[in-house]
Amino acid sequence: MNGEVGAVKSGERAPQQGGKRQRPQANMVNVYIMGKRHVVPEHATIMRAIEYAGHQIIRGAGCREGFCGACGTIYRLPGDYKLHTGLACTTLVQEGMSLTQIPAVPMEKAIYDLEKLTPDVRTIEAVYPVTFRCVACNTCSKACPQGLPVMDYIQAAMRGDVAKVADLAFDCVACGLCALRCPAEIVQHKVGILAKRLTGRYLHKESKELAARLKEVASNKFDAEYEELMVMDKTSLSKLYYDRDMEP
């Protein structure tokens, strides 16, 4: 299908573009999916390779674009002792790659009432005490497919610097690969989410403009304008629309 497997069927586009270039034949590589060899196109992502091999992925694919963390994968390469980590949807296959998906990493989410928490170290201690077991080995940062400084945000959490955690963990996709590798069994991305919520709730100044707007809405300030617009015929509405001024 278009944009998915090796072959390109460009659907709508094909007839519209003159002088279509022939796609060069894709080279194939060997990959080992859970130990079994498959031959797949070299430009495939791990996700496309698994599908090319004939699997229907049920667990292990979500957004398919690097946002959801459903597709965490571990792999090894020939002649390389390292256990690599990646997101299946955005990591390319390589010759000899031996891989398996880790679609879920078991961990407990703490239950809390955000309204009763404070954005400081006491909250981290109370909600995720495991955080303080960190031995600063940096394994988590090395495992992170997003390239985040995971250890640094855990260290920031231990200092109670909640805003720093939020900033460093902002792009976390919650794949859990760091947690899987952590010798101290910390649940990094859960700490990250807690810190983000605390930051949004408590550490940002309130917007005065927004508060004023909420008051206006509550006092029905816009009712009359709405009622006028809602019954306006299409011609007048259209005129109003095309004549409206644009803020630069």
Partner: protein, 576 residues
């Protein structure tokens, strides 16, 4: 890294940039926006909705005779996954019972559950993949809300209804725009980290079709930030909200009064069919990008197969605006591995410019989406031949991103678009220094199940919110209005459906509507081997699929799902 043959074309972009930067700094539009006639012309000639065969009349059901998107019509005219007779015992003795059933664990679904809990009503969220494996997780650019002093909710109303070609349902647009500022405040209370100025003022940007800067954002991860906040909140209430993952709904259940009374689920892990009895039901199943309409690549998540439309339609739910599909103007075309992936519209909001192979502007960068997409398709069409071709045979135009740092100061792009930068860094393209190659990508289901401002449908007890619903955006949704949509209407659906659940009594559960659907298909002489809802698309090579389908006899359910999993072009030949 761009291949060598593009080097000359990249130089053109650099050559024209100083002049274009001057235009951008002048405060005037960098290219004249189209008037009503020009818009009409480009749409009718180049928008995929107007291509021959794009629409056809649906032959059965509540919208019978109406022209709708052909791929959707196929899904509506397909067989159910379940044999009603075999479900009888499970209708008498449901596997689960709940006050409120929420189908779909994306943004709208989470909100419905949170609001129901606040209203003291217990709910159950059933979802196809994991909670949050949803389009909501993926939104990058932002959400529209009239929060700034220069703006107003009625201004927002005018922009939204103009963008929708004046066909949106006015009462829905009012609610959408009037609830906007409240949604911003409520999300912040739940811990969403908005982009703000030092003094707390919301940072606002332009989006396509906005006349005021109104786009609020969380860097370029608004979806991930909101979705994870809502999920975390949902999971903080295990006593009020039950969650079942990998158990998509495949049919609604009605009672003998014709009220919605729950759904049949299909466990993807065990391939069992399970029944849920509920006093009221909310559909929040999102969009249909994975139907790959007209063969387009899509920005949508894996489970976006329009299931809600199919289930509601079989139960008698009326659809609205199902003849229109949104193609996002800027999907990636290069490298091939990310073809179809979304390049957020915020890039253009921040000053990014689409350019043809000569490095020239050919359209105002912030037209409404359908217009902008049609203009890009026109530029690449054989009428103009101004597109840039990739080695994979795709065509596209440049999206000049380096100009953004020149407008806003160096470092801006890396800070504001970390996701975008990461996506391209992986392939050795630094978007701060080089433009991206883009082409429209299948993005959004403009229409859906028709609702009113209480999220009610024509079936009592059935509510719909978010991308699955129809009417809010008419035939064209503006950027930032769907994140607002699932927040506004997800909350409303939760409130109204839980109120309804408080007083509703459920009669005898029935799947008679599924039986009737089969009869109607037969009466209309519809022959098909399709089974819907689709649940998941298949990217298995066709030859492998054919071998999988060679299986004989008492086939498991997933095998029947497999039949759906041919590419649209393949399916057409199947239907003849």
């Amino acid at each position: 890294m761009y291949p060598d043959y593009l080097a000359g074309l990249l130089k053109e972009v650099d050559r024209t940039r100083p002049h274009r930067l001057g235009l951008a700094m002048s405060g005037q539009p960098v290219y004249p926006p189209m008037n009503a006639e020009e818009r009409k012309d480009v749409l009718s000639k180049y928008h995929p909705d107007f291509a021959p065969g794009a629409r056809r009349p649906v032959r059965i059901g509540p919208n019978k005779g109406e022209e709708i998107t052909a791929e959707v019509a196929e899904m509506l005219e397909a067989h159910s996954m379940v044999e009603p007779k075999l479900m009888d015992i499970h209708l008498r003795e449901p596997d689960y019972e709940t006050d409120l059933l929420i189908i779909g664990g994306g943004g709208a679904g989470c909100w419905a559950a949170i609001e129901a809990a606040r209203n003291g009503v217990k709910s159950m969220v059933v979802t196809k993949l994991r909670m949050g494996d949803a389009n909501t997780m993926m939104s990058e650019g932002g959400m529209q809300a009239a929060v700034s002093a220069t703006d107003s909710p009625t201004r927002h109303y005018l922009d939204a209804i103009g963008g929708g070609h004046f066909e949106n349902k006015p009462e829905l647009v009012r609610v959408l725009t009037e609830d906007g500022p409240g949604v911003v405040a409520e999300l912040e209370r739940l811990g969403v980290i908005w982009d703000k100025m030092e003094d707390g003022t919301m940072q606002v940007l332009h989006g396509g079709g906005t006349s005021r800067r109104r786009m609020v954002s969380c860097r370029d991860y608004i979806g991930a930030i909101i979705m994870r906040t809502l999920m975390d909140e949902v999971k903080n209430h295990p006593d009020m909200i039950a969650v079942r993952e990998f158990e998509p709904a495949v049919e609604l259940i009605l009672d003998d009064n014709g009220h919605c009374a729950g759904a049949v689920l299909y466990s993807l892990d065990t391939e069992q069919f399970l029944t849920v009895k509920a006093k009221s039901t909310v559909i929040t199943t999102g969009g249909f990008g994975r139907l790959h309409i007209r063969g387009f690549a899509t920005t949508n998540h894996y489970g976006a197969t329009g299931d809600g439309l199919v289930m509601a339609y079989r139960a008698g739910g009326k659809l609205a605006f199902m003849d229109s599909v949104q193609y996002h103007p800027t999907g990636a075309v290069f490298p091939e591995q990310i073809a179809g992936f979304l390049i957020t519209e915020k890039i253009r909001g921040a000053g990014g410019q689409p350019l043809n192979k000569f490095g020239d502007l050919f359209v105002f960068p912030r037209e409404p989406r359908d217009i902008e997409s049609a203009a890009i398709i026109r530029e690449c069409s054989s009428d103009r031949n101004n597109g840039i071709e990739t080695y994979a045979g795709r065509a596209g135009v440049w999206l000049d991103s380096p100009i953004i740092d020149m407008i806003h100061g160096s470092g801006y792009t890396r800070h504001q678009f970390p996701g975008m930068c990461r996506q391209f860094d992986r392939f050795g393209i630094d978007i701060v220094k080089q433009p991206m190659l883009i082409y429209p990508s299948l993005h959004y289901q403009n229409g859906g199940i028709e609702i009113n401002e209480r999220c009610e449908t024509n079936i009592p007890g059935l509510y719909v919110a978010g991308e699955a619903s129809g009417g809010v955006h008419g035939r064209n949704r503006l950027m930032g209005n769907s994140v607002l949509d699932y927040n506004v209407f997800g909350r409303r659906a939760g409130q109204h459906a839980s109120d309804y659940a408080k007083s509703a009594t459920v009669g005898r559960l029935s799947l008679d509507h599924v039986r009737k659907h089969a009869e109607e298909m037969e009466a209309a002489c519809i022959q098909t081997d399709l089974i819907s809802p689709l649940i998941l698309p298949s990217y298995t090579p066709e030859d492998v699929k054919i071998q999988q389908l060679a299986r004989l006899g008492n086939v498991p359910a997933r095998h029947s799902m497999l039949r759906n999993r041919f590419s649209p072009s393949e399916r057409k030949t199947h239907l003849g």
